[in-house]
């Protein structure tokens, strides 16, 4: 198991900060998008796209590549940030997000945007689709891994648990879900709208391996992903405790910022808080 050096951790923290800034810039420019759930994902996406995923932007169709499905597809902005910074398409495309002839859709579209593995947006699909993709890898003798990034509110959808049953029935150890557990959904706190606790024992009861991590701690995320590689008889979920809106004081833990773009003053304040010189 290769643990991260201190300098690599600092580097990934820096990437996470950059992904936050990129996401907010995209959302502000388009005057639409979902800032809260992008900001909570920054460290998770930094570790996945810049350390863990075996991908090659030169070969987006490489059969052995790892696959990531952003099941919480409303966090499209941070996926677009990571994919462009990883070289799948030019960062200038961000400025045209939502324009009629731009490949970047409101939610991820696998047919339009290079590097997007699956079209998502309506919640709940990732685990079941990921299970099928993991099964296909096994059938074809390919050793790629499938990562599914889930929201906590999303786990209220029954299809998530249908997929969870299928993944454990077939012992899909090449499937790893990462739960962005920020406890805020569109209408309010998850624990009020539809409580999900005890979340870890729910997944345990579905015969998944459950690991926990601070979703803003690069080392912990990385270690959990490494630990998942040593589980060989079942799928793994990493319950990553996060803060919705992380890094922007007025957005943190506020359901209002689930799907609203900041105005100019709010945007400038957010950038300042993230250490970006405007």
């Amino acid at each position: 198991m290769a643990s991260l050096t201190e300098s690599r951790i600092l580097e990934l923290e820096q990437i996470g900060r950059q992904l936050r800034i990129d996401s907010l810039k995209m959302i502000h420019r388009r005057k639409a998008g979902h800032p809260g759930g992008c900001l909570s994902l920054a460290e998770i996406m930094a570790v996945l796209y810049f350390s863990k995923l075996r991908i090659d932007p030169e070969r987006p169709g490489w059969p052995e590549r790892d696959r990531l499905i952003l099941s919480k597809g409303h966090a499209a902005a941070i996926l677009y940030a990571a994919l462009a910074r990883r070289g799948f398409f030019p960062a200038e495309d961000w400025n045209r997000w939502g324009e009629l002839d731009c490949h970047l859709q409101g939610h991820p579209d696998r047919l339009k945007t290079p590097g997007v593995e699956m079209t998502t947006g309506l919640l709940g699909h990732g685990v079941a689709i990921g299970a099928g993709l993991a099964l296909a890898g096994r059938l074809k003798g390919l050793n790629y891994r499938v990562f599914v990034v889930l929201g906590d509110g999303e786990c209220q959808a029954g299809i998530v648990w249908e997929g969870a049953m299928t993944a454990s029935k077939y012992h899909l150890a090449n499937l790893v879900a990462i739960l962005d557990y920020n406890d805020v959904q569109l209408d309010g706190p998850v624990h009020e709208i539809m409580p999900m606790e005890p979340i870890a024992s729910k997944w345990l009861a579905f015969n998944w391996a459950v690991l926990e991590a601070d979703g803003h701690n690069i080392r912990q995320i990385h270690e959990a992903l490494e630990a998942a590689e040593n589980i060989h008889d079942r799928p793994t979920i990493i319950v990553a405790r996060t803060t919705k809106g992380k890094g922007v004081s007025f957005m943190e833990n506020e359901a209002y910022w689930h799907g609203v773009a900041p105005n100019d003053a709010q945007f400038n304040q957010a950038l300042a808080e993230l250490g970006e010189v405007v």
Binding site: P63, R67, D109, R110, L111, E117, M118, T119, G121, L122, H125, A128, I129, G130, A131, G132, L133, A134, L135, A136, G137, L139, K140, G158, I159, E162, G163, M165, T166, Y170
Partner: protein, 323 residues
């Protein structure tokens, strides 16, 4: 009766094709002894996946397998694929254009024993409205077995609508099927009867009945509801001026809907619709009398043929009948 049921023809053809094409995988939602996907399961246990009673999951797992390069046939009851799993079909199969084959069993009234809960009489309306979807309804056992290979080798989403019942044999082994290409089963210029699925055999009989009355009825089989063979239908409208559609489905949104839409744009023509007239079904003792009860009998098609011809001749407008 020596006629094989549609479902058995499908199940056996799928297992046979499985030997030919190792990329084919099959999924079921705890109905493999009903859809008869179990023939494949027995032959290729490592390529068969039973997800339990969870049709949305059935479809999404099939989507994942397709993303990974396999050719999945997802089997379940038509009512559940087209309604319970409709969002998965729309988003993950059609919008994402994944190479998933939906094998929708127990379609129409064919599950006469279980009744309206299990009947699928609006599935064609739902599936036709899905961009990217190919919608196919075979007429008999021979045709059903021909479609398996064609559907598997087409690259994209397909909805294959399958009856539980046996349908009268219409075709022989020389049949060749092509997506989007309707078949002319009988020539005729007085009226044109257009049928799909289990109604094709009944419609051929109806044309014979009309012939005894001196009415020369053309018979078209439209097995592909989408993309529709507009050319063949418009030509029939031009040449006969009186049309009848016949389907084991609601008259809303299925074959009647597709033909009406094409005609309204291209060549407005007198049209009579044979199908369930905006009603649910009921439980029956056998599929044939149940179909007759809902106005899908040979006599009903004959009457519709006469009415269409009369309207063409007199120009009468029918202001009474409802959907």
């Amino acid at each position: 009766m020596g006629v094989m049921s549609i479902r058995e023809a499908y199940g056996r053809a799928l297992a046979a094709y499985g030997a030919e094409n190792p990329e084919v995988v099959v999924l079921d939602a705890d109905t493999s002894f009903s859809t008869l996907s179990h023939f494949f399961a027995e032959a290729f246990p490592d390529r068969f996946f039973n997800v339990g009673i969870a049709e949305p999951c059935l479809v999404d797992v099939a989507v994942g397998l397709a993303l990974g390069g396999k050719i999945p046939f997802a089997n379940a009851f038509a009512a559940l694929i087209s309604l319970r799993a409709a969002e998965q079909v729309r988003t993950s199969v059609c919008y994402a254009r994944t190479n998933v084959k939906l094998a929708a069993g127990y379609a129409g009234l064919s599950d006469f024993k279980d009744g309206p809960s299990h009947n699928a009489i609006m599935d064609l309306a739902v599936m036709r409205a899905m961009p990217e979807m190919i919608v196919i309804v075979p007429a008999d056992a021979v045709e059903t077995s021909k479609w398996v290979k064609v559907v598997a080798e087409y690259d994209g989403p397909v909805y294959l609508r399958l009856s539980r019942a046996a349908a009268p044999q219409v075709h022989d082994e020389s049949l060749k099927v092509e997506i989007g290409k309707g078949l002319t089963l009988r020539p005729g210029d007085d009226v044109c009867l257009i049928a799909t699925g289990s109604m094709v055999g009944r419609t051929v009989k109806a044309a014979e009945g009309l012939a005894r009355e001196g009415i020369d009825a053309r018979v078209l089989e439209i097995h592909t509801l989408k993309p529709l063979d507009r050319e063949l239908i418009i030509q029939a409208a031009e040449e006969t001026g009186a049309l009848v559609t016949a389907e084991e489905h609601s008259v809303i949104g299925g074959l009647a809907g597709a033909v009406s839409e094409a005609l309204a744009e291209a060549f407005p023509t007198h049209l009579e619709r044979v199908g369930l007239r905006d009603t649910f079904g009921r439980t029956g003792l056998d599929p044939e009398t149940l179909m007759d009860f809902y106005g899908l009998g040979v006599e009903d098609i004959i009457r519709a043929g006469r009415r269409a011809l009369e309207r063409k001749t007199t120009g009468n407008v029918d202001r009474v009948r409802r959907a």
